[in-house]
Symmetry: C2
Subunit: 360 residues, 2 copies
Amino acid sequence: MSRPFNFSAGPAMLPELVLRRAMDEMLDWHGSGMCVAEMSHRGKEFMSIAERAEADLRDLLAIPANYKVLFLQGGASSQFAMIPMNLLGRGNGADYLNTGSWSKKAIAEAKRFGPVHVAATTEASRFTRAPAQDELALRDEAAYVHYTPNETIEGVEFPYVPEVGDKPLVADMSSTILSRPIEVARFGLIYAGAQKNIGPAGLTIVIVREDLIGSPIAGAPTMFDYRTHADNDSMYNTPPTYAWYLAGLVFAWLKDLGGLQAMAEINERKAAALYAAIDESGFYANPVDPSARSWMNVPFTLADPDLDATFLTEAKAAGLLTLKGHRSVGGMRASIYNAMPEEGVRALITFMQDFERRYG
Amino acid sequence: MSRPFNFSAGPAMLPELVLRRAMDEMLDWHGSGMCVAEMSHRGKEFMSIAERAEADLRDLLAIPANYKVLFLQGGASSQFAMIPMNLLGRGNGADYLNTGSWSKKAIAEAKRFGPVHVAATTEASRFTRAPAQDELALRDEAAYVHYTPNETIEGVEFPYVPEVGDKPLVADMSSTILSRPIEVARFGLIYAGAQKNIGPAGLTIVIVREDLIGSPIAGAPTMFDYRTHADNDSMYNTPPTYAWYLAGLVFAWLKDLGGLQAMAEINERKAAALYAAIDESGFYANPVDPSARSWMNVPFTLADPDLDATFLTEAKAAGLLTLKGHRSVGGMRASIYNAMPEEGVRALITFMQDFERRYG
């Protein structure tokens, strides 16, 4: 257990047990003589891996039977186009909540395909809070409502699921999926790039209610039609098989740990400890309203930005990696996804306290 | 070296040395303490991996400086749309050569975005030959000419590069790239899904002449605009980092083996030996015109199709995997990409001869 703790926002730390399993199976998966990356996606070996991964994900999130689970490529950035291309036909434009850098990207891309109404924005407070339910100016005729439950860059998180009536609620859960239980039935479509809480980059999970599939706008590529993938169990073309396999190992690891309720308790403890250390320090600061602080991404600044470089150098030497904040925010960011053990957060806090003692 | 020989058409066998290297580096890449899948794509460790992979690929294929190399997601199926979306604006429709199952898919998708002229087809001969240069009814006003140098399913391969004047030649090299040297300057755009001769599924390589980038049709998603990726060194969004790394290990392995001229000699020997065994048998048959037989994918039938199941069962017991032919063609198919050693082809031939002796 001498591996460093990697606080990268994504691609991010993977559970050591998952990596060890992948290592053990690299040359020979279950007596097949093949690495999973070498298997035909249509062979029975890979089919069993794919089906098991989906079943475990359905189990973890308690996904209702009328939702499809798609294993796609292209990242959230592709979903930013694929969602309006498939859903805009259902109404008169879409409502988007603007709560940070990733919301803005989703909005900019959606505008290429139809009218977008920004139903709430927290830009005036520099994205340091979540809008309240009664601030959401939702329209009855909206095709859907899109929001970003957790903003990876600003470290701001909705403390509630917006109530949107009978319109489909679409959520970019890239940096929060699997961090706690959710009620999938409140969403029309959930999407997530894998590289934070699921597995390696190059896999994108989409959980979509079946009635929302099948009416893309004219000019949508076949690969951007959800039906293409839903009708073919995500094997219309060759899927990212090795990433799918690694995601399946992560799902099995989560189940072994007790599922998402157990993870939620761990994640809440990790975040609470780190925010408490920041708030009590007088040297570190986090600008986000306490009611909307992310469990997953914790940005913080040092009282003296001239110490940033020293902080990063010493942290790395202490086995605490990738703490540099996003260039648009500055300072530091500790991403503490499921794979970050509590021990890692404790090590970070101890380092921060020691650093403050020496430089504060 | 007791691993079985896997003749899958893709995802396909990977070099054992590459898998062993990935296994060794799984928990700690070069002292970083991280698996490559855990690294931030913008960190210096992954940047060095990404740059090295591109440099090695450029070296292997002698790619001229005025070509961009893109590391994308979505497979050839996404390129079937991305190519017309980016290039159709350059002329009055596009010319496509129809030489097999993958050509047909490319044509069907391109028709969604503009007029397609089929400039040659070998469908009447059930795709068992390549059209000659003087059969190509190319149009001066075509935006580009698209063809499939190697058809993975039918096992038919162009023995020449079509002459298309000053129009950009676009080639789906998914199942032939890196099998031998090519003259990149004769192509406007080359694309290839990685899962045959490059690495794991989930990575797509595009090699595109710079002057062809930058004029997508209206309605193209940002992720389907080559400029998005070309201007950001394939890091506009998170790339499939682990697949990129494995591809880099394959490129390094190819260079260690002597590059593409050395591979071409090996591949030609492997194919010649297998076709000779088929032709000399009187029991096995390959329908493709000898001038257009693929070096990479060798479909063959047994004299008695009732023996197919027995053949497959016994082959598997002999460590010869995934020989079942594509459902649209039937019979067997041996895919013998770069990672298939000559020893594997010899083992297959020995098995085939023994099988014929016992059942023929």
